[in-house]
């Protein structure tokens, strides 16, 4: 911390060494396919890392066809990043050795640190001391690594390579990986995935500070059990101009206790977090699904110019669910202007219910949605399009004026194909009316 007491963030240079390294050493790379040391090394190669990767293991000569080195001292050139998967007592010294070979960053996958008790805590203190003295930025320990598909660098698992606009920062490896997996399945991808683990050195505030400047990141999604350093966190958030979505776990007394033993986090009083998040303009997600949905909406939808919402649906039930959620989240489902209704009644089939919600009913086709948006769009700030049946060509009729929120359900194989087409165009699709409208409402907070 500088003399004036203001917090200092990890330098851009040291975090670049972690997220965009030119070369990587995998210390503890393994020949055994069931070991993380093998999987991470393989994932770095298979994701297409553009630089040199050095596997390091004194007991192997070659891993996946690459020559293996007995120690970091024996590699032929310097490295930017060390990925470390070796027993906890060896980590601190290894970080010092890596620093001597040029490393500015390290990802420590190994567990056995503060999460295990006082002995582990002492090892973590040594790790931190080594990191500070040798000027190496450390992610972890006890973490699931880093995946930057834009570089690409997959020093993590599972192997996922889809590029997108949401940065995922998670105190839990699995929670973060699940988000990334969903984004990958939907072909939306992520900008970067970071598993923080025990946050001995690099914490969420450093990463908010970094991703605020990252050109690929539009929105930052964070899973946390508590902030590490309140003052630093506040400063990072106040400086960040991108939407931040946070899922803060440990809301109940027993949840708080579980958080303390998971990553030794001080979970704090939930009402205070609620107030702080509101004060800072952080979007608070109540569960994983909301963390995913809010980030998706904030990253891929523009901000609507107002709250007037027209709901167009092929499913009456879905239209009502959407209306209820809209009412509960402060959106205005205002009546359809009479002149627009008259125009639409002339072109739509007789059995359509021309109101708001506008129910095209089960035999709706993509062309009808287009006609509705064309006639009614100018009178609304947002059109919520609910495709509630297998409606082919949906992705061809959705435009950008006014803001169009796409919800697709009940469409089976056609829906799955259309969803991917939408996502390839950068238009997010939500799986239920409630989730779509709830996420949309965050854009107006």
């Amino acid at each position: 911390m500088p003399a004036d007491g203001s917090p200092s963030f990890k330098s851009r240079e040291s975090l670049q060494a972690i997220f965009r390294p030119r070369s990587v050493a995998v210390i503890g790379a393994s020949t055994a396919p069931e070991k993380l040391g093998y999987q991470i090394f393989r994932n770095i190669l298979e994701a297409g890392f553009p630089g040199t990767v050095y596997p390091i293991n004194p007991k192997a000569t070659e891993i996946l066809g690459r020559p293996c080195y007995p120690s970091i001292d024996t590699i032929p050139a310097e490295v930017d990043l060390a990925t470390i998967i070796i027993p906890a007592p060896l980590v601190a010294d290894t970080i010092r050795q890596c620093s001597k070979r040029g490393a500015k960053g390290a990802i420590v996958i190994s567990g056995g640190f503060s999460e295990t008790g006082p002995e582990g805590e002492a090892l973590q203190d040594k790790l931190l001391q080594a990191a500070r003295e040798s000027n190496v930025a450390v992610i972890g320990p006890n973490c699931q690594g880093v995946n930057n598909p834009h570089h690409p660098l997959c020093a993590s698992w599972p192997l996922l390579t889809r590029r997108g606009g949401v940065a995922i920062v998670s105190q839990s490896g699995t929670v973060g990986a699940a988000l990334m997996d969903w984004a990958s399945q939907e072909e939306l991808g992520v900008s970067t995935f970071v598993s923080l683990g025990n946050r001995a050195d690099v914490d969420e505030a450093d990463l908010i500070h970094y991703f605020a400047q990252d050109p690929h990141t539009r929105t930052i999604a964070i899973y946390m059990e508590g902030v590490k350093a309140a003052h630093k966190f506040l400063q990072a958030v106040r400086q960040c101009r991108k939407p931040l979505v946070v899922l803060k776990a440990g809301r109940t007394p027993k949840g708080r206790k579980a958080a303390e033993s998971h990553t030794r986090s001080l979970a704090g009083r939930d009402e205070v977090y609620e107030g702080v998040f509101r004060q800072l303009g952080i979007h608070r997600a109540d569960d994983l699904e909301q963390l995913y949905d809010f980030s998706k909406a904030l990253a891929y939808l523009p901000r609507p110019r107002g709250r007037r919402l027209l709901i167009v649906t092929s499913s009456g039930g879905s239209g009502i669910l959407a209306t209820d959620m809209a009412e509960n989240t402060g959106l205005d489902v205002v009546p359809l202007p009479e002149e627009v209704a008259r125009k639409l009644r002339a072109v739509l089939p007789k059995h359509c219910i021309v109101a708001n919600p506008l129910d095209l009913t089960g035999d709706a086709n993509a062309e009808m949605y287009r006609q509705v948006v064309e006639a009614a769009g100018p009178h609304f700030d947002i059109v919520g399009l609910i495709f509630g049946d297998p409606i082919p060509g949906a992705s061809k009729v959705v435009g950008t004026e006014p803001l169009q929120l796409v919800i697709y359900l009940g469409g089976a194989e056609v829906e799955r194909q259309e969803r991917l087409l939408f996502h390839q165009k950068g238009i997010p699709v939500f799986p239920t009316p409630e989730r779509g409208i709830r996420a949309l409402s965050e854009l107006l907070r």
């Binding site: 309140a230 506040l234 001080l266 704090g268 009402e271 205070v272 107030g275 702080v276 004060q279």
Partner: protein
């Protein structure tokens, strides 16, 4: 540092209620007309001065919950009631073995909507301002809102509006709205008091009675950081 805080710090105790009133008044916060007295005669004079009906409250630094020891007598309407109340409180403090500093005679605040506000310390974030409706809303429903010090005006407005019971403040069944501007000003003042007096560890204004116009802080408890003073 106000004189009251300085004196209490020196004596290693928290603020007495008359001192808490003094602190609030120094920040322009409305408190009921009151006198701090130490005899039955003074009590009677004080009551006549502040105007009936009055309340008599025990002032003793080691008593945190005045009502529980029978140290608060409400709705005293004449001189005889005030003298009796004085004697009763002296007797109760003797039974509770409390060091009695005196008795506070304050004008009874007319009824209105009861809210609470306060300042507490969060282990990580430091001083925070709290707001909620009084009674069951806080105790049962935990219907409270928090913001970090320092508060901005939009923060104060937002923390009033976000409690679930907000419609009660706006006025239900044809009732008139409570003075939301005065309430927002009070929250900003609490924030400023926290910022300007780092000796304050905790402040509990409970209840505050809000009217169509204005409000009155009826009961105030201010705890100080004594360790910080020693350091």
């Amino acid at each position: 540092m106000t004189i009251a805080i300085g004196k209490a710090m020196q004596e290693g105790r928290n603020l007495l209620e008359p001192e808490a009133y003094e602190l609030l008044a120094a920040y322009g916060v409305a408190v009921p007309g009151h006198r701090f007295v130490s005899s039955a005669e003074q009590a009677e004079e004080a009551a006549a001065e502040v105007g009936y009906p009055v309340v008599a409250k025990i002032v003793a630094p080691d008593i945190l919950h005045k009502t529980e020891v029978g140290g608060v007598l409400l709705n005293l309407n004449d001189a005889a009631a005030v003298r009796a109340a004085y004697r009763h409180i002296v007797e109760r403090s003797r039974q509770a073995k409390a060091a009695l500093k005196g008795i506070l005679i304050a004008r009874m605040a007319p009824p209105g909507t009861e809210v609470i506000a306060g300042l507490t310390q969060d282990a990580q974030f430091g001083p925070v301002v709290m707001f909620g409706l009084g009674g069951v809303f806080v105790e049962v429903y935990r219907d409270v809102s928090f913001r970090l010090v320092p508060l901005t005006e939009p923060d104060a407005v937002a923390m009033i509006r976000e409690i679930k019971a907000f419609p009660i403040l706006q006025g239900i069944r044809g009732g008139r709205s409570a003075d939301l501007t005065a309430l927002a000003d009070l929250l900003l003042t609490v924030s400023r008091m926290g910022q300007e007096n780092p000796e304050i560890a905790e402040m509990d204004l409970n209840p505050i009675i809000v009217y169509e116009k204005g409000l009155s802080v009826v009961d105030a408890r201010v705890l100080l950081h004594h360790e910080a003073a020693a350091a």
